[in-house]
Amino acid sequence: MRKYWFIFSLYWQEGLQQRSSFFVDRFRSFVVLISFYYLWTALLRGRSSFAGYDHSQMITYILGMSILRGLVFASRTYEIAGEINHGRLSGYLLKPVNFFVYTFFRDLSEKSINLVSAIIEVIVLTCLFHLDIRWPRDPSTWALFLLAIVGATVLYFLLSFMVGCWGFWTAESGGPRFLFELTLEFSAGAFFPLDVLPKGLQHALQMMPSPYLVFFPLHVFLERLSPSQLINGFAAQLFWIGALSGITYWIWQKGLSFYGAEGS
């Protein structure tokens, strides 16, 4: 396990070295936070609630959304397709490391940097605008929230690793990945709470894994779920993790048998 923590540390240092890219990424996140803060504030002006969210719940959702975007969606799995296309994957296959675990720890370093930064941004915004955050009333909510974000992180990793594996079959995975990430962010509730959408669309989205990335953990935090909804949510998250683990492993094995190590 030590070697993976070493990989984590190496990528942490690399992440902090590429400062301009890091700041631009964080700036993007901050602009999204600012624009949605103002949008919801404008919508809540002169009324006590909007779509079932009172002011503090909506503000908490927006701030939590920013933190979860930094944690869940921060990833370096986009590099996998390039590593396959340019034959660099061969180097990893020859090393005494499990590529799957290797990429997970590489992702963790990216996530941890972004998480720290996102928390700082949220604190700055909270102090600047004197925001009223709705903290959980029941201490056990913190444990459930932690569990939900661990599930969300694993779920996103599986999805994005699977998309990275497209590199085995095509050198043109950039466009499909762009489409995948956009669709996922919107359907995860990473821009707005999904229960703002029409009921039919909400039900359709519930059939997908994406709501369990941001929307579900934030609903856990806001204590908007009944015990049965909590159980169903965690069961769905677990189901998707299990199903996607199997599918991703199958795609990875298929891809490896197809891999010609071109470019290495």
Partner: protein
């Protein structure tokens, strides 16, 4: 005429590059369309819970969003070349362009024409036309002309910002990410500028004129922009272009070649 031929040739080259990776291009194209669709769905969903956003109806709020898209997409379509300025400098292409008998700013700006945006902008035009028809009063010739002029004015300001970004790249051979900061700031123009509080609105009107680029055309069409602000918009674009061209001249005069 010669410059039109050059543009046509560069456009053909760009088309060749994008057509050589059809799957990737298709993914990007679909992604751009999906993003616009999602935001329109989101806007319409918001209006299921309220009748107004900062005093604007659904059609009016959609007009702001579509105007933002028009300026953003057209800027990407025409000035995409600026995005690659740093690699042009690093790989020596910039030096090669300098000895070509063509204006260097023109050559750099139109080096890449994003055909995916040609396809993306068509549905945006169609939806904008649909929305304009559904705004009370329908399509009004005088206001439409003002809307088009102010949208083109917004595009001119976007061009000035692109020139400043290119100038910084020539001057420092760095700042590769500056253009993305501009793109991120542009997203603040997705919604009517009236949703922001006074200090933020002031910044978006006078410091980084995103509101002038995206909100002013829509407000003018809705008859909610005073003539003083219309003159302000044209003043901002004129000053921006003059200053950016001066800065471009300043930067290129100090360029001493780095790679060829």
């Amino acid at each position: 005429m010669r410059y039109l031929r050059i543009w046509y040739r560069l456009a053909l080259n760009s088309y060749g590059v994008q057509a050589s990776s059809p799957l990737s291009s298709f993914g990007y194209l679909l992604g751009k369309l999906v993003r616009i669709t999602f935001f329109l769905v989101f806007l319409s969903a918001i209006f299921k819970h309220t009748s107004a956003l900062a005093g604007y109806s659904l059609e009016e709020a959609a007009l702001f969003f579509l105007t933002f898209n028009l300026v953003d997409i057209l800027a990407q379509l025409f000035f995409r070349g600026i995005y690659g300025i740093r690699s042009m400098i690093r790989e020596g292409d910039f030096d090669y362009f300098l000895i070509q008998p063509v204006n260097i700013l023109y050559r750099v700006s139109f080096n890449m024409i994003d055909f995916l945006d040609v396809v993306t902008v068509i549905p945006v035009f169609v939806i904008t036309y649909y929305v304009l028809r559904h705004i009370p009063g329908g399509i009004n010739g005088h206001r439409l002309l003002l809307y088009i002029l102010l949208t083109l004015n917004g595009l001119l300001i976007a061009f000035a910002i692109h020139i400043v970004v290119a100038s910084f790249a020539v001057l420092t051979q760095e700042m590769e990410n500056t253009i993305w900061i501009y793109r991120d700031l542009m997203t603040l123009g997705r919604f009517p500028a009236d949703i922001y509080d006074a200090p933020m609105r002031g910044i978006l009107t006078f410091v980084i004129p995103i509101a002038v680029m995206t909100s002013f055309p829509a407000k003018a069409y809705l008859g909610k922009l005073g003539s003083g602000w219309i003159w302000h918009a044209f003043f901002v674009s004129t000053i921006s272009i003059i200053l950016s061209l001066w800065f471009w001249g300043f930067s290129t005069r100090r360029y001493t070649s780095v790679s060829s």
